[in-house]
């Protein structure tokens, strides 16, 4: 048994450690996921003007600041009692704003954070022994996905074509957000009851231009099937089976064309999505398409016990009409709320079933489990007790452990795509389940993110060109007195998954309590009070540290993939929940 620890797990937002015990076959037998920082964010809103939350919670995360800002704004809409009256055009502006950010964030994850691991020498070592096909595939992987400042065997490796092309697109999307939000990161345009900036006709034209430019990138690098054809036959397919058949037939056509020439280039029709869809999976690539090798990303990062996991979506993107329901009941949002069990059964989402445990976290709370609105955040103040090497029974993370109805939940693109019953992702999940794989694995997690990006691009165009009407009403007045002795709840979807903010105000209208439960906390969570590991920990345990090739403890590429496949945001995860510190660590508590 070898202890293999990745610390820090770089190319994520924030600072994370993954510690594993690995047997002689390279299989992980135990794992701890530790968030490494305490920011003490929690007290800053106490006794403050509630409206500051829309600005200040954005500082939890600079990658998806506006998701926090928007979730806070939802909570404020509820607090001031205006959620039912927010004008349609303000809601559509918020959709455009969030949609652009989610696309930019996913593109960053795919190309800048996850992609570089596909150029890891571990793949070279396997692929280059597989003759011309293997060599061609490796050439594509390193040629597309190598990051900047990369070296192999002492020689500098130029940054990949897709990597380099993606950076300006990310910038372009951020610019589009700034156009309607002031700047990015840190936009200023969120306010309860509406939106601060009514885009005009010139802005709409500009947004459309940005859209066309980004789609040029997509058709040159990402997806070689015409975009409309892809949406029509996947997102709009009449059944999950039809969506999967469309994709596998398309991939089979590419394989038939390329296998003799060993040409897997973009010019030959292999966009990055097609390339990963075929070569990323053992089941799809080897079993279905008959490829000689694959990266076997479907064999790692899965859940071994479906009764210990579920998929949670709070719901995001308002329907284009005046007002919305702050409790996000099923069907209220374009991406509906929903909970899907580990066995892929559909359940209704109930925000009252969320709890958080601190049994394995660095907090000295009065009890192990709390509903978010009752949460405590009393950090260890003894430096000797902040230790990350104590093993699975110890307290080992700054993350708390959120649970839905007592069960760990995966949030994010895969959960959202399952919740809306997106045909392609649902079809893949069912197919993997049926063939004895975990429905959730590194491969399906990445494909769900890619598919969600495509769907958002499709929906975005509708929001910009159809649903938004320049010159419409953009805000309703907010009565600040309405906050007095009131509460608000904001439920939303950040790029990384379900995001919730809870706020209470006192008789003076100032904040008495502010809480967040964020995607990173769900995903990276440590064990709970029942000793059940969090989603990342479960996906590590039983998976191999090297999905292909010999066991190599010194380059556990499987751990990198599993950790990064969740797109972790640690700054979000360790914002530490209770933004007011209702129960302060250094004050006497009278119960």
């Amino acid at each position: 048994m070898v202890n293999v620890t990745v610390d820090p797990l770089t190319r994520i937002e924030g600072h994370q450690r993954i510690s594993t015990e690995v047997d002689a076959n390279g299989v992980i037998t135990d794992a701890q996921s530790s968030s490494l920082i305490f920011r003490g964010f929690e007290r800053i809103l106490q006794k403050q003007d509630p409206r500051d939350a829309a600005f200040l919670t954005q500082r939890i995360c600079g990658v998806c600041p506006l998701s926090h800002g928007l979730t806070a704004t939802n909570a404020l809409d509820d607090l001031y009692g205006v959620a039912e009256h927010v004008p349609k055009d303000a809601l559509v502006m918020r959709n455009i704003f969030q949609g652009l950010n989610m696309i930019a964030s996913h593109a960053t994850h795919i190309y800048v954070l996850f992609g570089p691991d596909l150029a890891n020498p571990a793949y070279r070592n396997v692929l280059t022994t597989l003759g011309d096909t293997g060599n061609s595939v490796w050439k594509e992987m390193v040629g597309r996905f190598a990051p900047i400042s990369y070296k192999m065997d002492g020689a500098a490796v130029p940054a990949g074509s897709s990597y380099l092309a993606a950076l300006p697109e990310k910038k372009r999307l951020q610019e589009a957000i700034a156009l309607i939000g002031g700047r990015m990161p840190g936009p200023s345009s969120l306010y309860p009851g509406g939106y601060t900036y009514p885009a005009n006709v010139a802005d709409i034209t500009k947004l459309s231009t940005y859209y066309l430019e980004v789609m040029d990138f997509v058709s040159s690098h990402t997806l070689k099937v015409p975009f409309d054809t892809w949406i029509e036959n996947t997102y709009k397919a009449s059944s999950p089976q039809k969506a999967v058949s469309f994709v596998t037939e398309h991939l089979q056509g590419l394989v038939d064309k390329s296998v003799a020439s060993n040409d897997f280039s973009k010019e030959a029709g292999w966009g990055d999505v097609e390339f990963y869809a075929a070569f990323g999976s053992e089941l799809v690539g080897e079993t279905l398409l008959g490829l000689p090798a694959s990266l076997k990303h479907d064999t790692i990062g899965g859940y071994k016990d479906p009764s210990k996991i579920c998929f949670v979506a709070y719901g995001g993107y308002y329907k284009p009409k005046d007002g919305y329901d702050p409790r996000s009941p099923e069907g209220d949002r374009i991406f509906t709320s929903g909970v899907v069990s580990g066995n892929l059964e559909y359940l209704k989402f109930d925000p009252d079933k969320i709890t958080e445990s601190t049994a394995h976290s660095f907090y000295k709370n009065s009890a192990d489990d709390f509903a978010p609105a009752e949460g405590e955040t009393v950090p260890f103040t003894d430096p000797e007790k902040i230790v990350f090497t104590g093993g699975s029974d110890s307290q080992y993370s700054w993350d708390k452990a959120p649970r839905y109805d007592g069960i760990p939940g995966e949030v994010g693109p895969l959960a959202r795509m399952l919740a809306i019953k997106e045909p392609l992702v649902t079809g893949l999940a069912l197919a993997f389940n049926e063939k004895g794989y975990s429905a959730a694995n590194v491969y399906t997690r990445m494909l769900a993110r890619m598919q969600e990006t495509a769907i958002l691009a499709y929906e975005l165009l509708n929001w910009v060109t159809v649903d938004y009407e320049p010159g419409g009403k953009i805000s309703v007045p907010v009565d600040l007195n309405a906050a007095k002795n009131n509460k608000g709840m904001g439920l939303w979807e950040a790029p990384r998954g379900a995001l919730g903010h809870w706020i209470s105000a006192g008789g003076d209208g100032k904040v008495t309590n502010y809480q967040c439960v964020v995607p990173g906390t769900w995903l990276m969570s440590p064990r709970d009070s029942n000793g059940v590991p969090g989603p990342l920990e479960q996906s590590l345990i039983g998976s191999k540290i090297n999905p292909v090739g010999d066991v190599d403890y010194t380059n556990p590429v499987g751990i990198y993939h599993m950790g990064r496949s969740y797109d972790p945001c640690i700054s979000c995860a360790v914002h530490t929940i209770d933004l007011t510190g209702k129960r302060a660590p250094n004050t006497l508590r009278i119960l």
Binding site: V2, T5, V6, D7, P8, T10, R11, E13, L36, I37, F38, G40, I44, Q48, D49, R51, L56, R59, C61, G62, V63, P65, A119, P121, A146, I148, S149, K151, M152, L164, L167, K171, E175, A178, L179, I180, G181, G182, R183, M184, P185, G186, P187, S188, S189, T196, P379, F380, T381, P383, I386, F388, T389, I474, S475, T554, N555, Y560, G581, P585
Partner: protein
């Protein structure tokens, strides 16, 4: 770009940057923006390539990665092109690097090509790099720094090691400069004890480097986030030798180590705000979504010493007040406490400690501006 600036750029086109004196240089880059600077002056950029490669070591403390995100939004040329043009080797950056920390049974394994911790040690040993720090540094609990431990090392220690052999140190973002959001007043602030690299809020004696007994000059580029132009132009100026560290710093930086060219002591965001005309006419928005002056919605632009109004953000498409949100003066050493409540007009604001000489004058200036608003309001009989 306004016509005036375009003319200036045209006039300066072809001028040899390397021969330009520092004063003219700083004036030029201040007004032009990174894209014009790096894009227009190809001759100088080519000469820069004759310089030895400059290594940049970029470390992340308690941060949200927003400043890295912001720098990735740099104009034309983008970050990658800028690095190439200035012959910069971005040797380490936690969010972008290929490496990660890899440990077997508690020992570092593999090489610097895959292991971030070995890579950093090699960079420290070689020395002579520009150190960029993003994020604040926790000193707590009890001075241990253990509220942030990366790769089995407190970030406090990492900063100390990285700073020792650095040729120049640049703190990027309000957190790294002064503590930022993590230093906001709260009842855990004394436990976490967050510090900036060379300041704790406005206190020059409590920066983390002072705590570590390291005496090195630090250039502060605050902002939440920092503007990519401010970061790249400062790095560019240091790399091209236009700013000699430490000799030139006293003349170029203000009392809070901010380059005066981007954070002008005698100029606020208010002066070039796109809504300024409404202010002058005494027309104010009281509900969001309008087009008038945002003073009554809490705008702090009259207190904000930054060139946002001229430079704008994200390819110059907009800025906070243009989009209808109040300026929150995120470049202030006391941010966010000096700006809260964000949506309420404040006339008693103490910008960065009014007891300090030069800033006091600025605060008085800002107060006069606020009084102007009063005057206008009285005129309108409100």
């Amino acid at each position: 770009m306004s016509t005036g600036i375009k003319n200036l750029v045209r006039t300066l086109d072809g001028v040899d940057f390397l021969k330009m004196d520092r004063r003219t240089f700083m004036k030029a880059v201040g007004i032009m923006g990174a894209s014009a600077f790096l894009g227009t002056y190809k001759t100088d950029i080519v000469k820069a390539l004759e310089f030895a490669e400059t290594k940049v070591l970029w470390i992340h403390g308690s941060e949200c990665t927003g400043c890295s995100e912001s720098v990735l939004n740099a104009g034309n040329p983008d970050l990658v092109q800028a690095l190439e043009k200035l012959n910069v080797n971005l040797a380490f950056h936690e969010t972008l690097c290929a490496q990660q920390g890899i440990w077997n049974d508690g020992k570092l394994v593999n090489t610097s090509e895959l292991n971030s911790e070995i890579l950093q040690e090699e960079i420290y040993e070689e020395g002579g790099y520009i150190l960029v720090v993003e994020g604040a540094i926790p000193n707590g609990p009890d001075g241990s720094g253990r509220y942030l431990v990366i790769g089995n090392k407190t970030f406090k220690d990492t900063l100390g090691e990285a700073a020792k052999n650095a040729a120049a140190i640049v703190a990027v973002g309000t957190c790294a400069c002064y503590g930022g959001i993590t230093s906001a007043d709260s009842d855990v602030a004394k436990d976490t004890d967050y510090r900036g690299v060379a300041f704790a809020k406005t206190d020059k004696s409590k920066g983390m480097l002072q705590e570590l007994n390291i005496d090195k000059p630090v250039i502060n580029i605050p902002g939440c986030p920092a503007h990519p132009d401010w970061v790249l132009l400062t790095l560019g100026a240091v790399i091209l030798g236009k700013i000699k560290v430490p000799d030139d710093l006293p003349a170029l930086l203000d009392d809070y180590n901010r380059p005066k060219v981007f954070y002008p002591p005698d100029h606020t965001v208010h002066e070039n705000c796109p809504r300024r005309g409404y202010y002058d006419r005494g027309e104010f928005d009281e509900q969001v979504g309008g087009e008038k002056c945002l003073w009554k919605l809490g705008c702090k632009a009259p207190y904000a010493h930054a060139d946002c109004g001229i430079r704008r953000w994200n390819g110059s498409v907009s800025m906070c007040t243009q989009a209808g949100g109040p300026c929150i003066n995120c470049v202030d050493p006391g941010w966010p406490d000096t700006s809260r409540p964000l949506y309420v007009e404040r006339e008693d604001i103490g910008v960065a400690g009014a007891n300090i000489d030069t800033v006091a004058k600025v605060a008085v200036g800002a107060a006069a501006v606020a009084a102007g608003v009063h005057a206008v309001r009285r005129m309108k009989g409100e």
